[in-house]
Symmetry: C2
Subunit: 228 residues, 2 copies
């Protein structure tokens, strides 16, 4: 049994655009990054890609359950339709006080419709679906849904996005601090996990505006009036 590293960040679905972006950003600031995938060889390939762009990266690649055991904070960056399946595949190896970060959005692509619309989630949001499937002693925090993959992957520029983070106080504050390690991210306290639904839905609106305004690198937002 591996003890989860309190400094490391595991990114399940770290082979996807947004997950890989987070892996690059955390590797670039010196965090140990563990990329998880359903197939170990894809995780290893993604880890290699991170090492190419961040030569001194501490990065490794594993199958999802293996990756989960190696970091206290586990970011779930899989398409919405793989959320429940991924949780089931890691549930047995999670230990008390690990934090699972939900960044999923219930885009209607999950049912073959388009990304400008969402599907309803019985629990209220992807984050609450995640929480409903996890053991009670594992924390769920919602974050990163509105950060475009291209901005994450383009290391020379700061991300320039506010990230609204919700969940119970202690794990939320930990993820808020973690998010701010990425240049250009400002963390905003989004309150209880149920508020994840607002943030998730916003992604579908942003995707539509990116298409309408032809912004392939993706828009983010900054709150105005937020106290320093």
């Amino acid at each position: 049994m591996t003890t989860p590293d309190p400094n490391a960040i595991a990114i399940l679905g770290g082979t996807g655009d947004q997950g890989l972006g987070l892996a690059l950003r955390y590797a670039a600031v010196g965090r140990p990054v563990v990329i998880g995938s359903r197939k170990e060889d894809r995780a290893l390939t993604a880890a290699e890609e991170v090492r190419e762009k961040v030569p001194d990266a501490q990065v490794s690649g594993f199958e999802n359950a293996e990756a989960t055991q190696r970091a206290e904070v586990v970011i779930l960056s899989v398409p919405f339709e793989h959320t429940a399946g991924t949780i089931k595949s890691i549930k047995e190896v999670l230990v008390a006080d690990q934090i699972v970060v939900s960044m999923g959005v219930p885009l209607a692509t999950a049912v073959g419709d388009g990304p400008l619309r969402t599907v309803g989630v019985w629990q209220g949001s992807c984050a609450e679906l995640v929480k409903s499937l996890l053991p009670a002693e594992v924390h769920t925090v919602s974050a990163f849904q509105n950060v475009p993959a291209h901005r994450l992957q383009h290391l020379p520029d700061p991300v320039e996005c506010d990230v609204i983070i919700s969940g119970a106080k202690a794990p939320r504050e930990r993820v808020m601090a973690l998010a701010e390690e990425i240049p250009g991210i400002r963390s905003v306290n989004g309150g209880p996990l149920a508020n994840a639904r607002y943030v998730e839905e916003w992604t579908a609106l942003l995707i539509g505006m990116n298409i309408r305004y032809k912004v392939p690198e993706g828009m983010g937002f900054r709150l105005t009036g937020l106290p320093e």
Copy 2:
């Protein structure tokens, strides 16, 4: 029968915080403003309040149906639970090509719950509810849901908010231009009216963050990465 003035803006519920704020802003930029209310005397009082703060204001006050007949653009600024009732009270006097701007948000206060949560709307959003109740030849546009009342009312400062506006192309573009007459507002094309649901829901999240961060004047947002 009065012909709706193409330059005027009617604001139904112009006696409320946000409606009054819009009345002040449009009066301040020289637009004729018609304040509507269920009670004419309340509309007259609000018009007087606008004249006190904007001495050269062209502002009048009428009962809602009277106000509706006096402006091509009619902003609906009533609490969500009065939406359908207000539409019913003005439906008979609306004429082809008038534009009704929905700025309502289905906050759960409508059913005695709090403003940090929303209720589901059968049609998808308050804006779509409005559209469903209007004659087909009247346009519905969604706008202004995320602009805090205090910022609107505080004339010395620009509002500093992006406003996401959705609806059919021609009326949407007209409202986008109108919104930008208010200092500090940038209009963003939010696409079809159905996208109003994302913008409306966001208000409940913003209200929660205003409480959490103690920002009585209210937060807004700016999109980052939007082309000039």
